[in-house]
Symmetry: none
Subunit: 155 residues, 2 copies
Amino acid sequence: MQSNDYENCFQIINMNNELDIFVDYLKQHNLRCTPQRNLILKIFLEMEGHVTVEDLHKKIRPEDPTIGIATLYRTMKLLIDAGLVEMHNFNDKTTYERLYMVKHHDHLICQICNKTVEFEHPLIEKYQQEVCDQHEFDLKSHRMELIGFCNECKK
Amino acid sequence: MQSNDYENCFQIINMNNELDIFVDYLKQHNLRCTPQRNLILKIFLEMEGHVTVEDLHKKIRPEDPTIGIATLYRTMKLLIDAGLVEMHNFNDKTTYERLYMVKHHDHLICQICNKTVEFEHPLIEKYQQEVCDQHEFDLKSHRMELIGFCNECKK
DNA sequence: TTATATATTGAGACCCATTATCAATATCAA
DNA sequence: TTGATATTGATAATGGGTCTCAATATATAA
């Protein structure tokens, strides 16, 4: 299996995962699974980077010319709510970006006993992304370490 | 001189600095110093956090009801170019934020060209403290690095 | 000071991304 | 198959932000 095959394979696996997540999300919220929604997700996953609704519309038209702009906006909002997509507003046009499946966790580190505690704070991650947006920076990963004294050692 | 006086004094100094920087910027770019521009900067500096043009307009109207919306947008753009203000597009409305004069130890790092950008984000710091409080941890310092592709390299 | 070149202003028209409306249609559970 | 209701596409509406332009203000030189 070559590198390309592996990547393709990974793509497909991811795509299925994301489709499954989306379908689950719809079911759990009493929303319906429609060909439009599936097609939009499928085409979106085939695209890379920051995707505008306009891009998406162009790419979808050949496969289903009847699909309406409003449905694109509505579906992208669902994908965001389902945790699959992130919305950016750095430029004049809103863009949508596929969220990576891998989440990072951060660490609390005690200077004295070296105890470490893993944590995750969604708002910190949100503001990290904001910082990156301000600097037109594509965030791939991050490292955050909070250093101090743990509740035992500070006594 | 008491703490309050010192803070007030610092405020005034900062304000003058920013006005000076703005005036310099205008001169160096063959732009003109107008009462509208000065008023907008003055009022903006009196406001806190993320300011919308709408907020600004409301606050300015009592002092100069004739000032036009277009001038607000134009002037905010100048302040951004002069390095005094940052624009955000997190939500539906654009907001403008006064840039801090003092920057410190968090970094954006480009994986490709190693360019680093220093930044600080008060809200991230706030939530860092929150995490530490939850874990009864005395925060002494922190390290945060956001790693990705800079705006040049991502092209 | 006065004249001159030109930058700036405010009003309102305009643009265009996004959202709301609504009747027709599709989904899904019973 | 049926019925409740979620969804769709077309289109109107919204609203932030920009553009245009004639009137005005600023900076500079004489």
